[in-house]
């Protein structure tokens, strides 16, 4: 029997169901999002530099960050606008790259259904890979709505506060950062760090394997579409082998996925 996820201690930040002081939730959210935030800093620097070096006016270039709330899409949009692409081309490219956002929306809708309307309008704005990963492992079905939304907003505030600030820093620092450092490589590394603990059951392994194969098989597709196709294929395949009864949103109701970080 292959050992899937490594045997590691359970999350380091104590997890108290519906109880949990405001400060406790805040601390947990910060601790959980901190390593992911560190991981996006190099990428934000790279994008900040790219924005500064493009023909797009400085402030507008930075503003594309908060407007798009997504690194790859922002880079693509900056390149296309810099090249004078038509708005249609930019919109298609961004839609394709961010298409997985719709899958995140479907996956989290049952989780957020109990949240007040203002939160349901606000939360999707920052619904990126890292936020989806952290909220699905950092909260559980036993957490009260207040806990879930506080956790999500604190984590999001930290992640995006640092992200937007680093975009600006990258623009200011500009070409001081050597290209040979390949700072952008931190992004796939971050994906690996998030992916490995997520493969913690047989259905999850099926999901990951099928998804990986589909990405390679459909490599001719624009990457965003290939990603969506792979995700759907992987999720469907896993559903076929998953015998557990349905439980919305979180990781099969388990919630705990290994340490928040080391």
């Amino acid at each position: 029997m292959i050992r899937l996820a490594p045997r590691r201690p359970v999350r380091t930040t104590p997890h108290t169901g519906t109880a949990g002081s405001k400060g406790g939730i805040r601390r947990r959210a910060v601790l959980d999002i901190a390593p992911l935030t560190v991981g996006v800093i190099p990428f934000a620097l790279v994008i900040g530099v790219a924005a500064a070096e493009s023909s797009v006016d400085g402030f507008v270039g930075w503003l594309s960050g908060p407007l798009l709330a997504g690194g790859s899409a922002q880079l693509a949009a900056l390149h296309l606008v810099d090249d004078g692409a038509a708005i249609g081309a930019v919109l298609v490219a961004v839609a394709v790259i961010n298409a997985r956002g719709m899958l995140y929306s479907a996956a989290l809708a049952p989780v957020f259904a109990v949240q007040p309307r203002w939160f349901r309008w606000l939360a999707p704005y920052i619904l990126v890979d890292q936020m989806y990963a952290v909220v699905t492992s950092g909260t559980t079905a036993t957490d009260s709505p207040v806990v879930v939304r506080r956790y999500y907003l604190v984590a999001g505030g930290v992640l995006f506060g640092v992200w937007f600030a680093t975009l600006a820093a990258g623009a200011v620092m500009g070409p001081v950062i050597p290209v040979s450092w390949e700072l952008g490589f931190a992004v796939p590394l971050l994906f690996v760090a998030m992916a490995v603990p997520a493969v913690n059951s047989r259905p999850a392994l099926v999901a990951a394997t099928v998804a990986g194969l589909v990405v390679f098989g459909f490599a001719w597709l624009p990457s965003g579409l290939g990603l969506v196709a792979a995700t759907v294929a992987g999720a469907v395949a896993a559903a076929l082998v998953d015998g557990k009864p349905a439980e919305s949103g979180w990781d099969g109701g388990r919630g705990v996925e290994g340490p928040t970080d080391g």
Partner: protein, 99 residues
């Protein structure tokens, strides 16, 4: 300001996709679909990792990247995010310097 309006439009498209089901307040989902949604996480993350092995338009990527990602996977089985980032970047730099 044409550029700004393009970014605004792109931002709205992105937001609309992410907001779609959440704002609609979809509460319950047919069990079969729910079972699939539960596994979006490992699927999407694996897809993102696999995609990292490909260059743009499906071309193969730098072998140094492949090896460094392999190192990262091994480290990820034992240690946390920071360790994976550190090990992966160091591996990349060492391989690039040597290779």
């Amino acid at each position: 300001m044409a550029e700004l309006s393009i970014f605004v439009a792109a931002g709205l498209v992105t937001y609309a996709m992410r907001a779609s089901f959440i704002v609609a307040g979809v509460r319950t989902v047919p069990p079969t679909i729910e079972r699939a949604l539960r596994h979006v996480k490992p699927a999407v993350l694996a897809a993102l990792v696999a995609g990292s092995f490909l260059g743009p338009h499906g071309s193969a990527v730098d072998p140094a990247h492949v090896v460094a990602l392999g190192v990262a996977v091994l480290v990820a089985r034992r240690a946390g995010t920071i360790a994976v980032l550190g090990a992966g970047m160091v591996a990349l730099w060492v391989i690039s310097a040597v290779g």
